[in-house]
């Protein structure tokens, strides 16, 4: 990895001091899901990376009167797991649910998404529709409040000044006469970057629209509103014709481009249909359809994300961590690696695999402090003072179930006696072919069984949606998890 220095302040003051000292010559990292991919490709390079995750005070989602307040470390999972967010800022919760896969949602922060500022970032669209405001803070300039609608100045350009931190996102809650919805068009059903996305907030008086806020993603250099459609809807009932016409009008408010995900012409055509369909769903009160009552998080406990750092194990350049129950002190240089590289090269644990190095394939999935994470997107130093479990430690991470005599896996050789039930089920159900995806698949699957001992088919599919397999077609993997869940 191309950074040399990794700083890990433990308080907000310390963080702001460091940001001030390195203003303009550093980048912040939290979940790392954008930052590590960018740095590995030389995008906005930096020699110094400042890690926010030890500043525990920034980790919150709380109700604040008529608004929801998200601290800088609030993750997509934190939003999804918050009943207040699902009830009161539904479009944001829906957007968070549509991002990536559980291993991404457990790490990626909403604030980070806003700062990356890609026009395809899913959470920006609902926050624009909901008219969120941002609290920016810095040692030099103090605190200021910027409406999100004024935050973006162009592709990946924001109002954030050098030395400033996006400390909090404030999201006005939907009022009783408001309905909201987020829709995304992706090219597959998980791990998809939006081709387009749309967020709606409509204020109704009976069946008449008083005010409509429609935000559109991936159709302009930044997230934009659809003023023509919004103006048209004001004072109208959401009947079939109005929904269709608003869809047509929305295409007048955008300037999409061609890229690998779709042509501008396709974006326009799909946008019109998606806006109309979204309005129809809002008109019939079906905006909550499909949002899971108990979403899968792949976290041991919601809101216990990055492992709290012990004061005595403050990071000062050498990573001291516990892997599979054993203490490790990683050699100098590990702090400028991803956790995956440090595990494979420094800890000599080659069970976690590199299939993509960009959080797409899941073969590097390990547990970090109780969360299933893609270790290729975790700075190794975030494992300092934390517990890491890799595939090599999975068997001993479970309450050591003995293999029964006469089981088909008996006699396969040493080590077969003491396996996690899911490892055993994978062998028995033929879920292993080339096996390269299996370490990640098992770490995600076993974390699911911790979270949901008897998972449903839907829950299994969600939990494993961040783990690609090119051999099995997933059928026998599902069978194995169902069987292990049945046994649990």
């Amino acid at each position: 990895m191309p950074w040399q220095t990794f700083l890990r302040p433990a308080s907000l003051d310390e963080l702001l001091d460091l940001l001030d000292q390195h203003a303009g010559h550093t980048r912040l990292v939290a979940g790392g899901t954008d930052v590590l991919v960018e740095l590995s490709r030389g995008i906005l390079p930096t020699a110094t990376l400042i890690d926010v995750t030890a500043v525990r005070d920034l980790k919150y989602v709380r109700e604040d009167g008529d608004a929801l307040a998200l601290g800088a470390l609030a993750t997509h999972n934190d939003v999804i797991a918050s009943p207040a967010c699902v009830a009161r800022v539904l479009p944001l919760a829906q957007a968070c649910w549509e991002v990536g896969a559980p291993q991404i949602r457990t790490r990626a922060t909403v604030a980070g998404n806003l700062v990356t500022a890609s026009p395809a970032n899913d959470t920006i669209t609902p926050l624009v529709a909901l008219d969120a405001t941002l609290v920016l803070t810095g040692k030099a300039g103090g605190e200021r409040i910027v409406p999100l609608r004024d935050f973006y100045h162009g592709v990946r350009k924001t109002a954030l000044r050098p030395g400033e931190l996006l400390r909090e996102v404030r999201v006005p809650a939907l009022r009783p006469n408001q309905r909201g919805l987020f829709l995304k068009l992706g090219l597959r059903r998980a791990q998809a970057i939006s081709v387009i996305n749309v967020a709606f907030v409509v204020t109704l008086d009976g069946e008449t629209v008083v005010d409509a806020s429609i935000a559109l993603g991936c159709v302009a250099p930044t997230i934009v509103r659809a003023p023509s459609a919004e103006a048209y809807l004001a004072g109208r009932r959401l009947d079939a014709e109005a929904c269709a016409e608003a869809g047509r009008l929305a295409t007048q408010d955008v300037t999409p481009i061609d890229d690998v995900r779709g042509s501008a012409r396709y974006r326009l055509a799909a946008l019109s249909g998606l806006v109309a369909e979204g309005l129809r769903r809002l008109a019939s009160g079906r905006e909550r359809d499909g949002f899971p009552a108990a979403p899968i998080l792949l976290e041991a406990l919601p809101l216990t994300p990055f492992r709290p750092q012990q004061p005595e194990s403050r990071f000062s350049g050498i990573i001291a961590t516990t892997i599979n129950g054993r203490p490790y002190e990683l050699p100098p240089g590990a702090e400028s690696k991803s956790l995956l590289d440090a595990l494979r090269k420094d800890a000599r644990l080659t069970g976690p695999k590199e299939g993509c190095a960009e959080g797409e394939c899941g073969a590097c999935t390990v547990w970090l402090g109780g969360q299933a994470v893609m270790s290729c997107l975790v700075p190794a130093a975030q494992a300092h003072g934390a517990q890491v479990t890799t595939i090599e430690g999975l068997a001993s991470a479970s309450p050591s179930p003995r293999m029964e005599k006469g089981s088909p896996t008996e006699g396969l050789g040493s080590g077969g006696e003491n396996l996690h039930p899911l490892q055993r089920a994978f062998i028995e159900h033929g879920a292993v072919q080339c096996g390269f995806c299996i370490p990640g698949m098992l770490m995600a699957g076993a974390k699911l069984l911790d979270e949901r001992p008897h998972p449903s088919l839907d829950e299994i599919q969600t939990a494993l949606s961040g783990n690609l397999c090119r051999c099995t077609g997933y059928r026998k993997i599902i069978d194995a998890v169902l069987a292990a869940g049945g046994d649990a």
């Binding site: 998809a192 779709g262 249909g273 299939g355 994978f426 072919q433």
Partner: protein, 732 residues
Amino acid sequence: MTIPVPTPPSLIGTSVPRPDALAKVTGEAAYPADLIRPGMLHLCVVFAGRPHARILRINSEAALAHPGVVAVLTAADVPYNAYGLVEPDQPALCGDLVRFTGDKVALVAAETKEAAEAGAALVAVEYDDLPAVTDPRAALATDAPLVHAERESNVLLHVPLRKGDPDAAFAAADVVLDGEFHTTWQEHAFLQPEAGVAWVEPDGRLVVRTAGQWLHEDRRQIAEMLQLPPEQVVVQYAAIGGAFGGREDLSIQHLLALAAWKLRRPVALQWSREESMIAHHKRHPMTIRCTWGATREGRITAVRAEVLADGGAYASTSVEVLKCATLFATGCYEIPNLSVDGYVVYTNNLPAGAFRGFGAPQAQFAAESMVTRLAHALGMDPAELRRRNIYREGSLEPTQNPVPAGVSALPVLERCLDEARARLGYGQPRAHPAPHLRRGVGLACGIKNVGYSFGFPEQSTATVELFGTAELEHARVRIGAADVGQGAHLALRQIAAEALGIPLERVEMVTDDSAEAPNAGSASASRMTLMGGRAVHDAALAARAKWSAAEEYAAEATIQFRPTPTTALDPVTGAGRPNYCYGYAAQAVEVEVNTLTGQVQVLKIVSVHDVGRAINRQQVEGQIEGCLAQALGYALLEDFQVRDGRVLTPYLSTYLLPTILDMPPEVYPIILELADPEGPYGARGVAEMALVPFAPAVAAAIHDATGVWLSQQPMTPERVLFALQSQRGDSP
């Protein structure tokens, strides 16, 4: 020879769990990248990054001055600088010309990976860019830039097939339809990117430990490149993280060998996903233009077709793929009158080569779509039109010889139809969940050869060693057969145990070392169970006969199995015996089309296969289910985009594979066992067949749901939506 009837309890058909699974679920299994050790030199390839250029100068000074860099190898370091599975036209390191962006220009060796990468960035190559030809149709033009200047044209191969009198048949046909179909590149995307290690033993042997699909062919090409006797090169396979044809060509194996041999130090090379995507070969893009004619009685009487394949910059296995695609341009139907011309051309795109299906999926996307369209035009059930024309025993192939015995296309189709009616409501009126969500069902058949074709030398060799006094205590099977994940080692072991009548645990397999095991041929063409299995079976029986007769403590037999020979095709008419065995498949799928966005979701799949005999039922199902996922990606999702020779989708975030949520939970693999005359216990291959009918079945289902035909793969939401819009007459 006669094949004995197994006495129960038989191991054949038993879903024995895989012995290699234990190490794979605990993380102990060592894949090539896991073999990299401290002290090895790390290698980094300098890629061309441009589609066509003359190399003027390579300056390595800055790279060599970088701390940790040990050497920069170039073409001058390669003793024989040409390799290839069929034709050696690809340089290991380019000397004068680069012909595609993934061409390799230099190889940097350094003490660390970081230093190797930094060194590679410092290698200064001066180029003179040349006009590139990246469109296969344009490559046919007489004034097109030549990809290989020593050739007369960019046409790598033209295959004509002639049978009957198509002109007269078209004139007499009641229905004549034209079609044009396009497919694009498909990336294998095996989850384990290329990696490996190599070193020179004190006895002078060069050892390369990596992943591949054919130990002895890798060895042959490496030995030729280094001008060494083959025995001095040892190729060993670690755990292989998928292949699908993508490891059939050399990618890094020869680079590891070159560096270890030149530098006399252990070396390691691990490609990133991006390097893997831009550098190794892909499935051939093809354009198929065709005309099909039929009578109102439901006889398909004539086909005229042109298959144009983009072979990319180097030959790879293009000529074999093209022959298959041409042969299968008429699917699994007996067509009395036909004229088919296949062309594969060199371009400055990525080389195209082997990929599961090997030309059959492209050809039958066109053929099966045309058969369904013909049925509609005739007012006939598409399954019925298929039934009337499908191969039966004695049917003549397009090459004018009888289809090899054991023709099961019809029973496979009929079973598929039964299952489609029962499980998918085939032929029934359908409910649609919403006005913009429309459902439909489609059906298609498929044929794919098992084993090598067109006279390519076909053999598989196995050695069985037996030990025991009063009874057989231990058997050692030596067969250099790659287990790329498909479970070949277990299938071969089950066959050996069954033939010897001993428990599986007493059979030891020696499979992954070219110096320790004889040549089984490649793990490709769905051939290993049939070919390798038959060699193991016959060697086991021969060894057992020796052991019984001699009453010795030990016995050994080596058998080279050769199937009924195939022949090259006549260069004018295409007449010949192309194959010794086929696998037959039929599928039905139900899809849901979102008419607002063009998204297509596959809801249910029925996939029927005659596997001759399932040696391990669980593994056979695994092959079918896994192949279906690749087929679904190919049909709908996997859009490998190249512009002017440059790859636009080099990541797994831009080249999208199906996730667990994209695969329907309702998948029904149906296994028929209609024995093949030559296969061990009647087994024939199955690995590729599920890829053949899938895309045309999906296209038929989309048509059933919406009334529009898609003729370009992948059938992306964009293409589906635009097709719906043109049907509705919307302005673009």
